[in-house]
Amino acid sequence: MTHAVKFHPGLMLLEQYVEGSLSADVALAVSAHIDLCPHCQQLSKDITNDQAAVLAEQAVIERDSSQEWQQMLDFITNQPRSAGADSQRSALPQLASVTVNGKTFEIPRALARLAEKQNKWLHLGGIATAKLPTADKQHVSLLYIDKGTEVPNHTHLGLEMTLVLAGKIVDENGEYGVGDLLINSPDDTHTPRTLADEDCLCLSVLSAPLKFNKGLTRLLNPLQQFFY
């Protein structure tokens, strides 16, 4: 991958990801970013070592529960070892792909299992979305934007995370390539678009619907379910 990732999750977000305290949909976007970003691969490995050592170093108060521990210990050591434990882990991350608009894109390991079960692509102009089958409260989808297409100016009613999986996307704030993670807070407004010669595939995580702002596109607000 020649593109150098420029937009990363902050340290605190990575710490919460490693600790396992992020909500699953946000963690999924962070995980897919890490799959694409060597810098954050190293960082999350370091954070894991650090948190594990903090856990191992902590002083614990010995309560009067030795009998309970002994029972648990006896129970565990009487269990057989895993039958399949000898089988090796996959050494390298497995890649999967999705096909949209006649093109096939590789997607990160973190999305492979979910993307296999994706619903159908829904098309609207140059834009297509496919919702990933996660729990009901989460709005995780793949978003395809054909070249030379603009997503109408919108405001986020909640948190929006967009991870570029292929191609490139531009908005008022900059240009984002493969692996870049954009996080828009509630009330942020922007008009993302693709360049004339390159389309774009993204992972989109939304905590609330988008609100379209301008002119005729306000008519899109009834269609916000399309993106959400």
């Binding site: 605190m12 977000l13 490693v18 600790e19 699953a24 370091d46 070592n49 948190q51 614990v60 704030n173």
Partner: protein, 219 residues
């Protein structure tokens, strides 16, 4: 700097979420020697050695319970997590590979994953996001090591002092021994009885944190 402001923005959003609680008592005395748990896991893997396992269990089970209490706030679920995690340690010890990291890291990630899946199972249907999706249990392709030498100029900065004091205690202690007392990584590892890899990880994390802090004050 566009990138920095973008990242600072992320922090503002997520700062509302629960902060990882940092202060914890750190024992430096009576700490087991480095390598003890790795050896114990190897004995469990090779011989299903119950004595070696009991040593691991006595040390880690109460600490995993504390981790579970912090995350669940509930004794019964915390103990359920401990049992599931420690059972995995017993049954899958062959999968532990000391060349990929230390025993405490392996055990921590097992507990974290068990806990995550316990929560999801209670909440939703089975094709939902799972711990296996989120945390890759394998190695990414090797990157050329980014040496920490170019950090030295940053460490000379006068502005650094307040940020240095704000580092998490465990990271600050490692940084102090390496940069102020000029000890080697190995010496720090021996002195604090933490794995060499953890010493290196803490240095990289502290440097990253300091860089983030310095960037913040600049913008």
């Amino acid at each position: 700097m566009l990138e920095t402001t973008a990242l600072t923005g992320h922090h503002d959003v997520l700062a509302k979420q629960k902060r990882i609680s940092q202060p914890m008592t750190i024992i430096t005395n009576s700490e087991p020697r480095t390598g003890q748990w790795e050896d114990a896991l190897t004995l469990v893997a090779l011989n299903q050695d119950k004595d070696a396992y009991a040593e691991l269990f006595k040390y880690f089970a109460p600490r995993l319970r504390a981790f579970g209490m912090k995350m669940f706030g509930n004794e019964q679920q915390a103990m359920e997590m401990v049992q599931d995690a420690m059972l995995n340690v017993w049954r899958k010890a062959q999968l532990f590979d000391a060349s990929r990291g230390c025993a405490s890291t392996w055990i921590f990630t097992i507990a974290r994953n068990v806990r995550f899946d316990m929560l999801r199972k209670k909440q939703s249907r089975k094709d939902d996001i799972s711990a296996d999706d989120l945390w890759f249990d394998g190695d990414y392709p090797e990157q050329e090591s980014n040496s920490s030498e170019h950090w030295d100029t940053m460490l000379m900065s006068e502005k650094l002092a307040p940020h240095f004091d704000a580092l998490p205690p465990a990271q600050r202690m490692v940084m102090q021994k390496v940069y102020l007392e000029e000890k080697s990584h190995q010496e720090v590892s021996d002195e604090l009885a933490i794995p060499l890899g953890t010493v290196k990880s803490r240095i990289r994390l502290a440097l990253d944190r300091l860089r983030e802090a310095l960037d913040d004050t600049r913008s």
